[in-house]
């Protein structure tokens, strides 16, 4: 697939933005400055980036508890995200949602989600709305290997297929649901196999290869836009950190982690771009520098923003 330089550089930027954003969160969580839970996406950047690069702003996504990467890849604002995660009134959800509930309907982000498997039915609804309005938009549902076992996910696959909805299911198979390895939670090796039960295409891709993800999702999006129904794309990847920050992560071995860290999707993609002369080393450094600056700005914005005031508590319960 011949991609424009602009698209490739955009992907490179997105992956780095996710990486640096998350590393910053890791730092601040350790320093006790972020309340609640933080689930980092480190190591999985190629999935969100590849998948969202195949979408337009008008297409909708549903995200998960591990949502920062999805949100950023869909165009989420660094400052508004950072402020939300810090619990400030200037954040995406006015400090009421936090890391697990960030949404931006204008960017087609139907929300991160604290409920595993909660996104599938919502994505069905978004796809249904697109079909109903004949808008040619698609919906994309990110879900984990753990979430693939929820009834809601299976119900969504079935309904989307039966109704031929413009929906792309993107499974992020990072091998674990908290401490539970995939082999203990399901008998199949490839989650993509489950697509057969619903008579939709199911493909396995290398989730650490941003272009492979992009190509597979692009294909599925095309199919969806043509009215041919949903697809299931399984991206094999790995999370570098514990399930949440603070998880001692004693349930998996360091060899496994090291093996996957060696497959870091960012240097891999960078090497390709350098080799094809799409990007020079100097440009690459500049991009990273700029992103680091943007993230520092976001942190400053968050820290300088006020905490929400208590009278705001009862706002937004009803429309």
């Amino acid at each position: 697939m011949a991609l424009s330089k602009k698209t490739l550089i955009h992907m490179y930027e997105t992956m780095n933005r996710i990486r640096l954003f998350e590393q910053k969160l890791q730092e601040f969580f350790a320093a006790g400055e972020i309340p609640g839970f933080v689930h980092l996406y480190l190591g999985e950047e190629a999935v969100a980036t590849g998948a969202c690069s195949a979408l337009t702003d008008a297409d909708m996504i549903t995200s998960t508890h591990r949502g920062h990467g999805h949100l950023l890849a869909k165009g989420g604002d660094l400052k508004l995200m950072m402020a939300e995660i810090f619990g400030r009134s200037t954040g995406y959800c006015k400090g009421k949602g936090g890391s697990m509930h960030i949404a931006d309907l204008d960017l087609g982000i139907l929300g991160a989600n604290g409920i595993v498997g909660g996104g599938g039915p919502l994505a069905v609804g978004a796809a249904l709305a697109a079909k109903y309005k004949k808008s040619k938009e698609v919906a994309l549902c990110f879900f984990g290997d753990g979430a693939s076992n929820q009834g809601t996910t299976q119900e969504s696959l079935n309904m989307a297929s039966a109704w031929k909805l413009p929906l792309v299911f993107v499974n992020e198979n990072n091998g674990y649901g908290i401490s539970c390895p995939q082999c203990k939670s399901m008998a199949v090796v490839d989650i993509a196999d489950r697509a057969a039960a619903y008579d939709m295409p199911g493909v396995v891709v290398d989730g650490n290869d941003v272009l492979a993800v992009y190509e597979a999702v692009t294909e599925a999006v095309k199919r969806a836009r043509k009215g041919e129904g949903p697809s299931l794309i399984e991206c094999k990847t790995y999370r570098w950190r514990g399930h949440f920050e603070g998880d001692a992560c004693t349930y998996r071995c360091t060899e496994e982690l090291e093996e996957w860290m060696a497959k870091d999707p960012i240097p891999r993609f960078e090497a390709k771009l350098l080799e094809s002369k799409t990007l020079s080393r100097k440009e690459a450094d500049k991009i990273k520098e700029r992103i680091a600056g943007d993230i520092d700005d976001a942190v400053n914005f968050a820290k300088e923003s006020p905490m929400p005031l208590t009278p705001a508590l009862m706002d937004d319960v009803y429309a």
Partner: protein, 323 residues
Amino acid sequence: MSEKTYLQALNEALRQEMERDENVFILGEDVGRFGGCFGVTQGLFDQFGEERVMDTPITESAIVGAASGAAAAGLRPVAELMFVDFIGVAMDQLFNQAAKMRFMFGGKATVPMTLRMPQGAGIGAAAQHSQSLESWFMNIPGLKVVIPSTPRDAKGLLVSAIRDDNPVVFLEHKLLYGVSGEVPDESYSIELGKGEIKREGTDVTIVATSQMVYSALEAAEKLKADGIEAEVVDPRCLQPLDKDIILDSVKKTHALVVAHEAVQYSGPGAEIAAMAAEEALDYLDAPVKRVGAPFCPVPFSPPLEQFYIPGADNIVEAVKSIR
């Protein structure tokens, strides 16, 4: 007797019941080697193995349903949901299946299943991980609802829940896991439906559950400075409810405040206040007051969350408005 945390007390109850009865087993997400989301099942996997401490897929419907089915088939499962909020996924299995089986089948089925679920706000976990949902379960005939506040109660009540022949919803508060107190080392049980007076008093009855028991005790100390002696009653179970302990206390103090962390509107306080109005009106010198959470989802940001959670000051205020 030794000092134990609420978490250790629960763990000990599970261990001792599993040692006593081989039909008792545990199932839930990450309950095995990981030891449970908050650590309640720690060490049990090593002692009892994976046949009796079973990690499940992330499938709450199947967890609650499988526990109910296994219970109806003769075992005594103790299922864990990581957060009470996830019961939404499994509600049909709990309220249409587990709770109704015995009645619908004319008494032929027995469902001795215990469902442990942590609830409550206070750790910045936001709206989908912080709710207090006891009033949902209280409204379903066929379920028992246990909500312990102290380590001692937690152990004795969990033992009773496991031995009970009904589906029991066992609600732990995540902020209580670290609270410690004296707990007998040997196995013992506390009858379901028997409350306890946590502090004697003569001027007002404060009925409080779970984490709010501590707020009520704190409020009682503050009120003492103003010459008001509050009696703090912990019903410990909401179904069956120890009506007598509440009514007897009201007959003594002539005033009632009910405090819980669940949303005040249609919360457990509504039931308790109505019960007092129906059965002890003549003894009441003042309207019954309720203290509960505001009618909104639990917010994320710390200052909002702290404001949201009812505390000792709210109880003091409620008492002073009637005393």
